[in-house]
Amino acid sequence: MNLLTAVLALPLIGFLVAILLPRSSPQASRVWALASSLITLVASLGLLVWFDRGTAGEQFMVDVPWISTPNIHFAISANGVSLWLVLLSTFLTPLCVLISWNSIKDRVKEFFAFLLMLEFGLVGVFLAQDLFLFYVFWEVSLVPMYFLIGIWGHDRRIYAAVKFFLYTMAGSVLMLAAIIYLYNKTHTFSYPAIMQMLLNGHLRFAAGEQMLLFLAFFLAFAIKVPLFPLHTWLPDAHVEAPTAGSVMLASVMLKMGCYGILHFCLPLFPSAARTCAPWIVVLAIIGIIYGALVAMVQPNMKKLVAYSSVSHLGFVVLGVFSFTQQGLDGAVYQMLNHGISTGALFLLVGYLYERRHSLEISAYGGVATPAPNLAIVFLIATLASIGLPMLNNFIGEYLVLQGASYASFPATVFAALGVILSACYMLWLYQRTFYGKTSESLSHHMPDLSGREWAAILPLLLLMLWMGSYTQTFMPPISAQNARILDLSKQRVAQSPPVMPAVREVANAR
């Protein structure tokens, strides 16, 4: 058992212990959840220490047979991209425990148990190297989130929870069909083995076959990202979820889809990905602009942040489907950035909600006067989200736009509109919430940040600055892994039967 197994097993142990704790003592559940998630965080930081940043490819490999027929292995490993996504999950879980400390009053034990189970599922998704195992974790992460939204959410929580479950399920059954199809063709679920077969030519897809397989995988991922027009579950789920649920959903769960596209779709089905790229890029750009425009007119803060996610995630997809080093680097960086800054925004909206019990922007105004620290912190998160230089999102957006410009300059122009629009809706939100005249009722219910609240938000702010000003800490493993993905995805473009000659020429020209 190596460190990576421990990082995966710790949340599971945390979950199992959490369901055994007595219901009568909620404090025990809180303390256990915090302790368990902190231990997992420490273990995952260990990964960072021992991760060999110089080399691309999978590290900390574990491969143990699980089921003999069909041949399913418990195979996990980390690469330069998944490493950071795992860290994002393990880093945000303790913060979510902190912010739920007082706000969750009902069924405390179950809440923290589900949170830990969610962490287990998420970490598993990013580490699984066996397609079957990947699917298992993909579904396992669905169940706790369903309960988190459904039990502890707001008024329309049931509708949101069911919609969330069914959308994801509908996409993932097609992915399951594709996974089984691949198995019947290759007799293995091992992703590295399948890649190897593709590279040495033992496995070939006919053009139509490759396209259908790509679409089956892509649809499951696109729903999760979410890509316009499959995004409609997201505003509901985000708005209705409790704060911790929104944070985990926005910051980590959406990245499952992005990671899936990057890790599986591109290397496995390069020709189909390139054939579909123009369409996907158009959808991504529609998502960027549409998400921003809809965000602008939202009267509800959480909904505004949710639609801003649709916009931001459009950048990730745009970057990935530019098939350039900069585009991919930017996309992955943007995945992390969005995790940090949107996570922070949801967290801060949660703070406001705990004070005023309203998510309507009109219920606020002049909050900066009674709560100056909250205002400052919110401002930093806002500026990060709109991509101010020196803060994290700037780097990601810049790289995505640069990568996209190599592929298609008009796409870049349209996407850049999204950056401008994001400044509009975020600053307008800030203005309406924190400036203006403080109403009498508001000023009494607006204490400034407490120590616990500081503890949850401060790490996020530091990371925004760090990621925005010193990318060297984060970027080298990401770049190395992306170069490898591009390499895997490029090598066979020439070999595969031409799907569309024009696309092939463009791809070769790069």
């Binding site: 219901r23 089921i67 003999s68 027929t69 069909p70 069924r107 699917y135 298992v136 579904e139 396992v140 669905l142 169940v143 369903y146 309960f147 459904g150 039990i151 929580r157 049931i158 929870a161 069911v162 479950f165 069914l166 399920m169 509908a170 059954v173 097609l174 399951l176 069909a177 089984i180 199809y181 198995y183 019947n184």
Partner: protein
């Protein structure tokens, strides 16, 4: 035919389970007449369970020495042993979940246990039969006991309706089966499955007539497995019958009927597979669609589970369509997975419904997680398994089935089936929504903790569901070895 008037010892050994169960059933009837005081009558349940466990052991030991019995009328091969163990295990859980119910309804008679035992004897004969007449006899023993069980609470009009419907439609369907048997005998001169196969391989009989005979038999069996378009009876019968009986009917007789479907169609009708496959294909798709879309509309949980069982019959028919070893193994695994899952779900419904089955609406489950968290958690496991979420038995069941059909290049059936399972998630989630997301309603006021028998039934089913979901290889390996070739 080598007339072996006096069967040898090993043949008795091979049908020991049936003998044990028959004797036990008769003894229970005898005790029913003799025992008058209530304390004595409490022995029926434990006695039946002991008999079933003895039969299980006998069945497992008989599987070590496979072979034919009684002039080749019965065959105790791996396939038969798998199903025999399965239906006997189903009987154990069904009885565990019934005792409390019968006590509650003040009708703890011995005949209930005897009927369950006889029904299982019938199912054992069905799964071991190597011959059409034996199949018919087994089917009748099982069905007639089931008809009576469905109407067990004879003062309850719903029970009467259920039993009458089941009996009339069931007899009608059995007549189809018998008519098919007669045709086959007329065409091939034999009722032995291997002889029929041989006759069809040489294709002396006209194909149209053989096809018609197969179709007639399929109608009879499709009724028993509640596959569309022969599913109309299932919702009414499951809703009207006592809850533990519904649970039993949805898995025991169904598993045995699937066993004969697999055996007859893969052995005897194997040579004309390309002709019956399209029919089974359409029935599979129709069952999934009808079951799932009708289940969405239901507000009564027993009715919902009835429609869900139609849909699940559809999934298993998908595996039959593959007409392969992997398909047969997948169907066997699925039936085992479904047995644990559905028995567990019905056991929780049995527990929850209370006297007179007052609380069987899905809305009544509101807030169960707050009053009886353990029972709610167990029902969650069963529902997730019915949806097919990984790490539960239902997931691997679906997985193996869709893998088998993709192996057989039936891509579209697999895709349609998988999409159906996404639709199914919706109605199972409604129960989860009620249990976890709604506040306790009036139905919670009179809810007591479950009794010991029910608890064992529920936990054992949940354990089975999870073990099959995490270590499916144990059962799948057995199923693959035992599957029909």
């Amino acid at each position: 035919m080598p007339a072996n008037l006096f069967p040898t010892g090993v043949e008795y050994f091979r049908i020991l389970p049936e003998m044990i169960l028959t004797i036990a059933g008769v003894l229970v009837m005898f005790m029913e007449a003799v025992f008058t005081n209530d304390d004595q009558r409490k022995i029926f349940g434990p006695f039946s369970i002991v008999a079933l466990l003895a039969a299980l052991i006998a069945s497992l030991s008989a599987s070590g020495d496979p072979g034919a019995a009684f002039s080749n009328m019965l065959i105790i091969d791996g396939f038969a042993s798998f199903f025999r163990a399965l239906v006997i295990a189903v009987g154990v859980i069904a009885i565990l979940s019934s005792t409390e119910y019968l006590h509650r309804e003040r009708s703890a008679g011995g005949e209930y246990y005897a009927l369950i035992l006889f029904s299982i004897v019938g199912q054992c004969v069905m799964v071991t039969a190597n011959e059409l007449i034996m199949i018919f006899i087994g089917l009748e023993i099982s069905s007639i006991s089931s008809y009576v069980l469905a109407g067990y609470l004879r003062d309850d009009p719903r029970n009467n309706e259920s039993a009458l419907k089941y009996f009339l439609l069931g007899s009608f369907a059995t007549a189809f089966l018998l008519y098919g048997v007669a045709w086959i005998y007329g065409l091939t001169g034999s009722t032995n499955l291997d002889h029929i196969r041989g006759a069809l391989q040489t294709s002396t009989p006209p194909l149209a007539l053989a096809g018609a005979a197969a179709a007639l038999m399929f109608v009879g069996i499709a009724f028993k497995i509640s596959a569309a378009p022969f599913q109309i009876w299932a919702p009414d019968v499951y809703q009207g019958a006592p809850a533990p009986v519904s649970g039993f009917l949805s898995v025991g007789p169904k598993a045995a009927a699937f066993a004969i479907l697999l055996r007859v169609f893969m052995t005897a009708f194997g040579p004309i597979a390309s002709h019956w496959q399209p029919i089974v294909w359409s029935c599979a798709l129709a069952s999934m669609v009808v079951g799932n879309f009708a289940a969405i509309q239901q507000s009564n949980i027993k009715r919902m589970l009835a429609y869900s069982s139609i849909a699940h019959a559809g999934y298993i028919l998908v595996a039959v369509t593959a007409d392969s070893t992997t398909g047969s193994a997948a169907a066997m695994f699925y039936l085992a997975a479904y047995a644990f899952t559905n028995l567990g779900a019905f056991a929780v419904v049995t527990y929850f419904s209370r006297k007179g089955e007052k609380y069987v609406s899905i809305d009544d489950f509101a807030g169960l997680s707050q009053r009886q968290p353990a029972m709610a958690a167990m029902l969650t496991v069963f529902l997730l398994s019915l949806i097919g979420v990984p790490l539960t038995a239902g997931f691997f069941g679906k997985f193996y089935i869709f893998k088998a059909v993709l192996d057989a290049n039936e891509v579209w059936l697999a895709v349609l089936g998988l999409l159906n399972s996404a639709v199914a998630a919706y109605y199972y989630l409604r129960v989860l929504v009620a249990m976890y997301f709604k506040d306790p309603g009036g139905a919670m006021d009179t809810l007591d903790a479950p009794g010991i028998g029910l608890k064992i039934a529920v936990y054992a089913s949940a354990l089975g569901t999870l073990v099959l979901g995490i270590f499916p290889g144990w059962v799948l390996d057995i199923a693959t070895r035992a599957a029909l070739k």
